[in-house]
């Protein structure tokens, strides 16, 4: 677990607390709770958390040797199977940690935002598990492309509030959740879904997610006798990325590769305020958004751009401040692959290994396909989540393209049915 000072809000120049004054006392209260319960295990909080992660969440998740991919790339490829965590994504680590923390703090209500719906689902599950009322803000565009997760949130008893402003994606959902929090801050905890937002969220979420790399590091040593040469993870806001990297940051022999969404192009349409990608670490520059100074997709005036990715979970114009700092320090290498490469990788992993990855995760495998020669002899890829939620998008996006690897789906039409 981290030994950071709970009261240092910065990672180099990044991070900080840029929020409306009404939220500052809540953020101070949270910082205090983070220090006491998470860093110092007061009242046995971390023991309770770890026990619930094991019994409710299903940890530890396996580090699986991927036989077909290893043969294909002539490299030992290991999959850290966060898709096998309860709920089907790494998001539960953080959601369970924060909802439990809110309970220890005496809060009475949980709110959260969600993009792909995985964080909303994880938060709804954690809130149901811990008997807390829960409301989720989700952009209308994302509701349309992530319907299964909307149902899962509702089934778990959460209210889902559609956000109609802007393009109706994660950026707008975060702003709307902050507005709710500014109104209800005295009894409500906002479960931020990634390593973004004002301090202490980036550190706290990293600490809850660090269990991924803690396990992966031990499992890699056990299975291979040493550390991997590379750890590869997809990066949107960066929670699975920081979770997969955290315990390897001091292992300088291990390359850390953050794979962003290159979308349809890295070229920006400044006039329309649109970046047809979500490659913030690769192409963004420094600014202030949603409570933190970090790298952003923004125009020359500082207006935040609409981002794009085939994967709703990566579709965000910001990124965690610690990741931005680690990239500047040269410790993390930012790369990106486009929508098409990610879709191909989605099909490849499904066919070769029997693992249907989230479209977010597929970006990491797309990078592996194209660059495996540069990643060394032993590679760990974080399977951040499973792809069931993305099937409608995959069918739609695959049908628009001529992908050799895609299966022939015409059987669905022949029998007159659908998914």
């Amino acid at each position: 677990m981290s030994t950071d000072d709970a009261h240092d809000p910065k990672f180099g120049e990044y991070g900080g607390q840029y929020v409306p004054e009404a939220l500052m006392p809540a953020i101070e209260e949270l910082t205090d709770a983070y220090e006491r319960y998470v860093l110092h295990n007061e009242d046995g909080f971390m023991d309770d958390f770890r026990e619930r992660l094991a019994d409710f969440g299903g940890r530890p998740t396996p580090l699986q040797y991927a036989e077909q991919l290893s043969e294909r790339y002539d490299t030992e490829v290991y999959l850290k199977r966060e898709d096998l965590l309860h709920g089907g994504a790494h998001k539960l680590n953080n959601a369970l940690g924060q909802v439990l923390l809110a309970k220890y703090m005496g809060k009475e209500r949980i709110i959260a935002e969600t993009g792909a719906g995985q964080h909303g689902t994880a938060t709804a599950m954690a809130a149901a598990h811990l008997d807390m009322p829960c409301e989720i803000y989700m952009g209308e565009t994302d509701i349309a492309r992530q319907r299964p997760n909307v149902f899962r949130m509702r089934i778990n008893g959460a209210e889902v509030n559609p956000v109609t402003v802007g393009r109706g994606t994660l950026k707008e959902a975060i702003s709307e959740t902050m507005r709710d929090w500014a109104t209800t801050v005295e009894n409500t905890h906002y479960v931020i879904g990634s390593v973004v937002g004002p301090h202490p969220f980036p550190k706290m979420v990293r600490d809850f997610q660090a269990v991924i790399s803690e396990e992966a590091r031990e499992q890699a040593i056990e299975k291979t006798g040493g550390l991997p040469d590379s750890v590869v993870a997809c990066a949107g806001g960066g929670s699975n990325t920081m979770g997969a990297f955290a315990e390897f940051v001091d292992d300088e022999s291990v390359a850390l590769v953050a794979v962003e969404a290159g979308g349809s192009s890295l070229t920006v349409d400044e006039e329309q305020g649109v970046a047809p990608n979500s490659a913030t670490l690769s192409t963004g520059n420094e600014g202030v958004l949603h409570g933190a100074r970090t790298k952003l997709l923004q125009d020359s005036d500082g207006q935040i751009m609409e981002s794009h990715s085939v994967s709703a979970g990566l579709d965000y114009a910001g990124v965690g401040p610690e990741l931005a700092h680690l990239v500047d320090e040269g410790r993390v290498t930012p790369v990106n692959v486009d929508d098409e490469v990610a879709l191909e990788a989605f099909h490849r992993l499904s066919q070769d290994e029997g693992v249907i990855p989230a479209l977010e995760t597929a970006h990491a495998f797309g990078y592996l396909e194209e660059n495996h020669d540069e990643l060394g002899d032993i590679v760990v890829v974080n399977v951040s989540g499973r792809g069931d939620k993305d099937l409608e998008t995959v069918i739609e996006e695959t049908s628009k393209r001529d992908l050799d690897i895609a299966p022939d789906m015409s059987i669905l039409n022949r029998v007159g049915g659908g998914l």
Binding site: P9, Q17, V19, P20, A22, M24, R179, V185, G291, Q298
Partner: protein, 276 residues
């Protein structure tokens, strides 16, 4: 630094409009109507794409303004084109201030603002902890930096803010985001009491809609009132109904007059100190 002068003789009326809402030309007339209606300071919004402290009314105004082409560069032209004799404050979010110009940090923005006649800033997402560089630039160019005190602000945070604030302090009357309401929140008096020993004027905002609200708040001890959403509503209605610019400007001036008169009435209603 001189915004305090606007509060010197009588309670100040401080209206807000988003510059460029719904378009550049109409907005100039609307801001001028507020001055004609008795504004003592005008807060001019420079729209940011992620206004996390605003409610729906001002969010919508920001979208209209951005869609009509408002940018920081146009904002400075707008200030130059205004024909008003009232101090102007720029209300915006920190990223726009931080990004302006070639040099990193807030200095180029503040320098340009001072050049066109802006006298101060309100930056809702910049708490005192992060405000050092902007405070420094404001000191260099003689501008005020207004901070918002929330109903939840206590203890050390008040101390930090008191050290940095100048011009006036923006007392947030209730929790939440901006938006007109039908009543005055009890939190207002408690907030004013916490600031009683501050030597800057206290202007109360968030939710004020009528002359009676204004009177009540000034009677409770405020040195001024800040009104945004109730005025923005008039702009939005005028735009939605396709009203002539002049008609909307008249309605703005009329509400401005009612609010200013309410504030003056509130000053009369203040409990008089007992003579010994």
């Amino acid at each position: 630094m001189g915004l305090e002068r606007a509060f010197a003789d009588e309670p100040a009326f401080v209206p807000y409009l988003a510059a460029g809402d719904p378009n550049y030309e109409d907005s100039l007339e609307y801001v001028e109507a507020l001055a004609a209606g008795g504004a003592d300071v005008i807060e001019l919004g420079l729209p940011f794409s992620e206004p996390i402290a605003e409610g729906k009314t001002i969010q919508d105004a920001i979208v209209r303004s951005l869609e009509s082409g408002m940018t920081p560069g146009r904002f400075f032209e707008f200030v130059g084109d205004l024909d008003v004799d009232v101090p102007l404050v720029c209300m915006t979010y920190y990223n726009l201030i931080y990004q302006y110009g070639d040099e990193e940090g807030p200095r180029p923005f503040v320098e340009k603002a001072a050049e066109v006649g802006i006298e101060g800033f309100v930056v809702p997402d910049l708490p005192a902890e992060e405000a050092g560089p902007l405070r420094e630039a404001c000191d260099e160019f003689g501008l005020d930096l207004v901070f918002i005190v929330a109903p939840t602000t206590r203890g050390d945070r008040l101390e930090r803010m008191m050290e940095q604030v100048s011009g006036y302090v923006y007392v947030q009357a209730r929790l939440g985001v901006t938006g007109a309401r039908d009543d005055v929140d009890d939190a207002t008096e408690a907030s004013l009491a916490r600031l009683s020993d501050w030597d800057v004027p206290k202007a109360v905002g968030f939710g004020i809609k009528t002359g009676d609200h204004a009177a009540e708040i000034v009677a409770a001890g405020a040195d001024g009132i800040i009104v945004g959403s109730a005025l923005v509503d008039i702009v939005a209605e005028g735009e939605a109904n396709g009203d002539p610019t002049e008609a909307t400007a008249d309605r703005l001036e009329s509400l401005a007059r009612e609010l200013k008169e309410g504030a003056l009435r509130g000053a009369q209603e203040r409990p008089q100190p007992e003579r010994t």
